[in-house]
């Protein structure tokens, strides 16, 4: 029987019944049951008792709010009276609607869960590790993706019957989807991760991408709208009383024009960029890395695209909205194991979860294309294959510096993975020279030409773990898998 913590849990009648009376990994269970958001791993902030979820650095978000509110406020206060009487009252009305839309979508983007995937329970992780350790019937390739030693951020590609492209990430101990990514700012794994937007104070991922897009689109319209009408206002006034007098009469107009002028380029550019991304169904990450770019090779196309622009747009903007998977406001059930790393020594990274700062700079880049490319190389090689996707770019290093300073923890060789560990360790450390393979631009990405150069995407290594007997079928299977995936 579970004591007191029932609360507003979902209506599912089954809870794990544990015969162990006290779980040491539980948060201290006092009289008041704690909600799940209070012990949520990762660098997030929660407000309103778990209803609102944001990133840690919210300073820029407040700046955004202030800019928008102040500029719009000045517009309504100083320019609208003149415009309403001299042109049409529709001007403030439309402005009002746009402003309402902008604020609504901004708040929605900032406060919603981008699609964070909760971490696995210890039982799950143990089960998966057992499965992986048991090589019978499983084909496993290790792709070591951007893991600076000794973090051992292995991604196991798990192929059971050819075409599965799944990754088991040892750090968060879950079987990951091909398009998910860990956000360095919040050390959460988010599905269809796009980027971390500091202006919005949150990651942009599967669940809030449409809000983000509507936000920048409506903000573009609002900016252009305000800009145009303020100019009109000043021009009309200066017809009547001269330019300088006009400026004296409405000083706020100058401020508005300046703010709008400088914002309009980046915002409109960003809208255009994201329109392009949506119509080709890519994420910002994928675009930055050029995952699906035709420059990379002939077998390069985006398996996620639906083929035509219209469908891509509809899918991104009007598709079904998946629910939040992390149940922030649920109560912690005392007998339900919380997703903490198992203490039995299986984990490679030991205390990653407790030392959440270690997750910050860790970016496991996963893209199906990457896998395809790696898998396309002959599978039967015995030496590691290094595929350098891009030369290290002179990107913004502001993200790199905090990363460099953080201690990376003990090298914990994965001793519980007999087949895998030694292989992983064999991969020479020289491959992780770059150290920081950050995915997310520090700031909101501008149009492609101006993108802060990204990501020295790492190397992939295809290793074989099996007896040669199975390698032929392996090869065949993988090729079939490739073909199958290519036909998506």
């Amino acid at each position: 029987m579970s004591p007191g913590g029932g609360g507003p849990m979902k209506d599912c009648g089954y809870r794990q019944i544990s015969t162990r009376s006290s779980s040491p990994m539980e948060s201290p269970h006092k009289k008041v049951p704690r909600r799940k958001w209070e012990t949520f791993p990762g660098r997030n902030r929660f407000y309103c008792n778990g209803r609102i979820m944001m990133g840690r650095q919210t300073g820029v978000f407040y700046l955004t709010l202030v800019l928008i509110v102040v500029t719009s406020g000045l517009f309504f206060a100083f320019d609208c009276p003149f415009l309403a009487t001299n042109i049409t009252p529709a001007v403030p009305v439309i402005g009002g609607v746009l402003f309402f839309f902008v604020m609504g979508t901004l708040l929605r983007t900032s406060f919603s869960d981008p699609g964070v995937l909760p971490r696995a329970t210890p039982d799950e992780a143990a089960d998966l590790e057992r499965q992986i350790g048991n090589t019978e019937g499983l084909s496993v390739h290790i792709y070591k993706l951007c893991c600076p030693p000794p973090r051992r951020r292995h991604m196991l590609r798990i192929n059971e019957n050819t075409a599965k492209v799944t990754f088991y990430c040892f750090s968060s101990e879950i079987l990951k989807e091909p398009r998910g990514v860990i956000c360095s700012k919040k050390s959460n794994f988010a599905e269809r991760f796009d980027h971390h937007c500091p202006w919005v104070g949150n990651c942009v991922g599967k669940r809030n991408y449409r809000f983000f897009y509507m936000f920048i689109l409506s903000l573009s319209f609002l900016t252009i709208f305000i800009f145009a009408f303020v100019i009109t206002h000043v021009i009309l006034r200066s017809h009547r009383s001269g330019f300088l007098n006009a400026l004296k009469d409405s000083p706020a107009s100058v401020l508005e024009v300046v703010v709008c002028f400088f914002s309009v380029w980046s915002i409109v550019g960003l809208s255009g960029f994201h329109t392009y991304l949506i119509s080709s169904n890519q994420t910002t990450n994928e675009d930055i890395k050029g995952s699906w770019s035709s420059k990379r090779g002939k077998e390069n196309y985006n398996p996620y695209s639906y083929g035509n622009i219209f469908t891509n747009c509809c899918a991104a903007l009007c598709g079904p909205l998946p629910p939040s998977l992390i149940d922030r406001r649920g109560f912690i059930q005392p007998d339900t194991p919380q997703p903490v790393p198992p203490s039995n020594g299986i984990t490679m990274y030991g205390a990653t979860q407790s030392q959440s700062h270690m997750c910050d700079q860790d970016q496991c880049i996963q893209s199906t294309k990457f896998v395809l490319q790696a898998a396309a190389t002959p599978l039967l090689q015995s030496e590691p294959i290094i595929v350098a996707d891009e030369p290290p770019l002179p990107g913004k290093t502001s993200l790199a510096s905090p990363c460099a300073a953080l201690p990376l923890g003990q090298p914990t060789p994965p001793t519980s993975m007999p087949n895998l560990s030694y292989e992983a360790d064999l991969l020479p450390a020289r491959q992780e020279q770059e150290g920081h393979h950050f995915l997310t631009p520090e700031e909101v990405p501008s149009p492609p030409g101006m993108l802060p150069a990204g990501l020295p995407l790492a190397h992939s290594h295809t290793m074989h773990l099996f007896d040669p007997a199975s390698q032929d079928s392996l090869h065949e299977d993988s090729v079939r898998g490739l073909v199958k995936l290519s036909s998506v």
Binding site: I17, S18, T19, G104, E124, L128, T166, C314, P322, V488
Partner: protein, 145 residues
Amino acid sequence: MAETHSLQDMRQQAAIAAKVFIQRDYTNGTLCQFQTKFPTELENRIDKQQFEETVRTLNNLYAEAEKLGGQSYLEGCLACLTAYTIFLCIETHYEKVLKKIAKYIQEQNDKIYAPRGLLLTDPIERGLRVVEITIYEDRSTGAGR
């Protein structure tokens, strides 16, 4: 006597013997689908057919939730026009299907799994990563504690 347990009995007294995790199946992309491979631990507990039927129905339900069709487009457009404030009032199609799934799982548990000492956990409680099946000890054979 067959080894039937009622759900109440299980909750109150049973000990967990093992847990089986049905992982996601990514062969068709990132849609939420689960593998239909029959786990060996369940061999002496339940029919393979029945298990596959359950998982297949779950897969169909998730496919329905994520389907791109007229209804989801309509919902999306309407929501967009109202600056997404409409979601404060009505629940999304996905959430409706999730409720259907929860009901289905409960029904399956009541009718099929609990009498065999098994318990399905709704995947949403595991972040849609796995379908967790808890195997309870079979007291009629006197195994375990």
